[in-house]
């Protein structure tokens, strides 16, 4: 196993044997540890001293189901703290099969405005790495550039890259990966890591794992057993099974639910219920496709080997694709949060984000703030589309919008800035869903809905026996346990959505632990595995502290304390001590 270092100052590379410290890490555990070890927390995120780390999960590249996840890490230009952004893509297993535990992009070219690409393939007994100019792809729509890369390198390659947003070095810029149909649609979206890649003059990393040996498994019998347990749990559970909830309606199945709960942030977090919700929900996407295509269309996998297959495609009446895929958060961000109830327009906006290299959550929330600040009216879908084009073209207004929701709130003097640590909140109103508010406020990542998943009811024991869901310390204990568990899953290479099934079917959790033990030849217990997640959080937290974050950054935005959210008319009434207790006790 190697760590591949790409030096963008002189376009050289180094294949390094994996140091002992990194041997039993993968995914987020590895990206965050490498950043913690090697990046000065006070460095400028876009300067030569930041690093960009790509790491497939521990299990990624094996036959285990729903395991083609990749972590990308660096210091975030959006939050100024550590960042792990995660994507599901065939790129991840390809890298893992070439025995590359991580790819670390370092340095910075002296020339500005010039871009290179790196092609990695397998030759003989090791990866072959080539640098080549990439200027011909710069400034281009990714839906045009990707097919050209594929026709140049062949159908079996996988591509990582940036769009115009990364080239303009926007704090809102993601890193794009191909999906199963080679669309530029799978994003490690959050936190502006596209800008870090852009700052290094790196446009694409093209990988071809043909002939590579594949992932080494030290205990194949245990692995078989573990992945069988995982597969059975996913195949059986109503949420994750074929033609189950996610496969039928996608993640946008949550739109109507959160709307009824009064927790669907609407018109820049000024209400919890949106009158047009049912028109843009997962049920509407499914039925719209059925009407337009004349048959029921179930969702597809974002990456090889996934059982859950939650990615939808929205089709136009003529059968062409409007967007693939419309996730719940994207649907909500351009929908309810902007007061827009036109599904086709929402789809168009998602596709524009993919084309320009933008994170849909940050872009949608930014649009909501812009509307709330009077730039365009709420509900103005065509206006929002025009603004997205301005972002893609790099006009002065487009650059301000590319700065993200907090930047736009500041520029237009709007105190309603729905952000934590500078990152826009996703689609769960923390005044209504109080549990997730604790995680939004305290995660090392800035407001992040993927920071607190849970996989085992035993986690309740962390809060003691009395009233485990209600007491204030228990809220903090639970959030910490959820965040540790999530760091573990993000390291495993499994998609976070396995959590839905294995929370109810405990053999699934044991399956995941078996798989990890099988790869490393270890004998960790479930508790020890979760403790590994807690260690990762400690490193991330230490990095953020050294970068200048204090407990005062672990807060929800102030307006949520004094603005009541209808229909429940609730505020954030949690005392600061709850937020402080999350990491105070780590």
């Amino acid at each position: 196993m190697w760590i591949l270092r790409l030096n963008m100052t002189d376009r050289s590379y180094k294949l390094e044997a994996v140091p002992e410290r990194y041997k039993n890490l993968g995914g987020r555990g590895l990206t965050s540890t490498l950043i913690y070890d090697e990046v000065d927390p006070m460095c400028h995120p876009l300067g030569p001293n930041n690093k960009l780390v790509f790491a497939p999960g521990i299990i990624t590249g094996t036959s285990s189901p729903t395991s083609a996840r990749l972590s990308v890490g660096g210091k975030s230009p959006l939050t100024g703290g550590i960042k792990e952004a995660n994507a599901g893509t065939g790129w991840a297993p390809s890298v893992a099969k070439m025995h590359l535990k991580a790819i670390v992009v370092e340095g910075q070219p002296e020339e500005t405005g010039k871009y290179w690409m790196v092609a990695i393939s397998w030759e003989g007994d090791k990866p072959k790495v080539e640098f080549m100019p990439a200027d011909e792809y710069v400034g281009r729509n990714l839906y045009e550039a990707f097919p050209e890369v594929y026709s140049r390198f062949g159908d079996r390659v996988h591509v990582a890259g940036i769009g115009a947003a990364g080239e303009f070095k926007y704090p809102n810029s993601g890193i794009v990966f191909n999906d199963m149909k080679d669309r530029p649609s799978r994003y490690a979206g959050r936190g502006g890591l596209g800008a870090v890649m852009g700052s290094k003059g790196l446009k694409f990393i093209v990988v071809d794992s043909a002939g590579a040996p594949g992932v080494e498994i030290l205990n194949p019998e245990l692995f078989k057993e573990g992945s069988k347990k995982m597969r059975e749990a996913l195949m059986e559970h109503a949420i994750t099974k074929p033609k189950g909830g996610l496969n039928s309606y996608g993640t946008a199945i949550l739109v109507n639910i959160l709307n009824e709960a009064g927790g669907l942030p609407t018109r820049n977090f000024s209400a919890g219920r949106f009158a047009g919700a049912a028109k843009i929900a997962g049920e509407a996407i499914f039925e719209t496709n059925k009407q337009r295509m004349g048959k029921e269309i179930y969702n597809h996998a974002c990456s090889p080997g996934c059982i859950i297959q939650c990615s939808n495609t929205l089709y136009a009446p003529d059968g062409s694709e409007i967007a693939s895929c419309i996730e719940y958060e994207s649907d909500w961000a351009f929908g309810a949060d902007c007061g827009i109830d036109d599904l086709d327009k929402i789809g168009e906006m998602v596709t524009l984000c993919n084309a320009y290299g933008l994170d849909t959550i940050e872009a949608g929330v930014t649009m909501g703030v812009a509307m709330d600040s009077g730039v365009i009216p709420f509900g103005d879908a065509d206006g929002a589309i025009r603004l997205l084009h301005e972002m893609g073209k790099g006009t002065p207004l487009g650059r301000i919008l590319g700065g993200g929701a907090a930047m736009v709130a500041k520029t237009y003097g709007n105190p309603r800035s729905p952000t934590v640590k500078g990152q826009a909140m996703p689609a769960y109103e923390p005044r209504a869903v109080k549990g997730i508010g604790v995680t939004y406020a305290t995660t090392t990542m800035g407001a992040d809905h993927t920071a607190g998943y849970t996989i085992a009811p035993e986690i309740l024991s962390v809060g003691g026996k009395s009233d485990p869901l209600a007491s204030e310390t228990a809220k903090a204990d639970l959030s910490r346990a959820f965040q540790s568990t999530t760091a573990l899953i993000d390291s495993s290479g499994h998609c976070l959505f396995i959590a839905f099934a294995i929370l109810d079917i405990p053999t699934g959790f044991q399956g995941m632990v078996d798989e990890i033990n099988a790869i490393f030849g270890t004998s960790m217990t479930g508790d020890e595995a979760v403790a590994m997640g807690a260690e990762i959080l400690k490193r991330e937290r230490a990095f953020n502290e050294a970068a200048g974050f204090t407990r005062h950054d672990d807060r929800l935005p102030e307006f949520m304390k004094y603005e009541k959210l209808p229909p429940h008319n609730v505020t954030n009434d949690l005392p600061d001590s709850v937020f402080d207790a999350v990491f105070g006790n780590l």
């Binding site: 109503a238 109507n256 009064g262 049912a278 049920e283 109080k434 997730i436």
Partner: protein
């Protein structure tokens, strides 16, 4: 007033119980005698309770797949009731600490797992 009118929302495949064959959603008003409870709404709609999953009364969670402590919940005039189909989902971490009716809260508290499940009909 001897009657109450309930604002009923039916989502996805349940929409046909509200007279809408589109499978997206239906909204209808159901009028019942004063003192009626949730099971009376279901009866009037001819909606078998085992076909519904996540349920809300005025934005308060009242049922999940496998957990229906709301059948005898008394309804007031103007209450909004929403029924979801069984494919609908709301994982624990996205509903942790949300508003719920007292019967639902009590039902979670009486469980050993304190309700920490994705749903309540799938545990082995």
């Amino acid at each position: 007033m001897d009657q109450v009118t309930i604002d009923v929302w039916l989502y996805g495949p349940l929409a046909h119980y509200g007279g809408n064959e589109g499978n997206i959603f239906a909204q209808i008003n159901v009028t019942l005698p004063k003192g009626s409870v949730l099971r009376d709404v279901l009866a009037q709609l001819h909606l078998p309770t085992e076909e519904r999953g996540i349920t809300f009364i005025n934005g308060n969670l009242s049922a999940m797949p496998g957990l229906q402590p709301d059948l005898d919940h008394q309804l007031n005039d103007g209450d909004r009731v929403a029924f979801f189909h069984l494919k609908s989902m709301w994982p624990f971490q996205y509903r942790h600490d949300v508003a719920s009716i007292p019967e639902f809260k009590a039902s979670l508290e009486s469980r050993e797992d304190k309700g920490l499940q994705s749903r309540y009909d799938s545990q082995k």
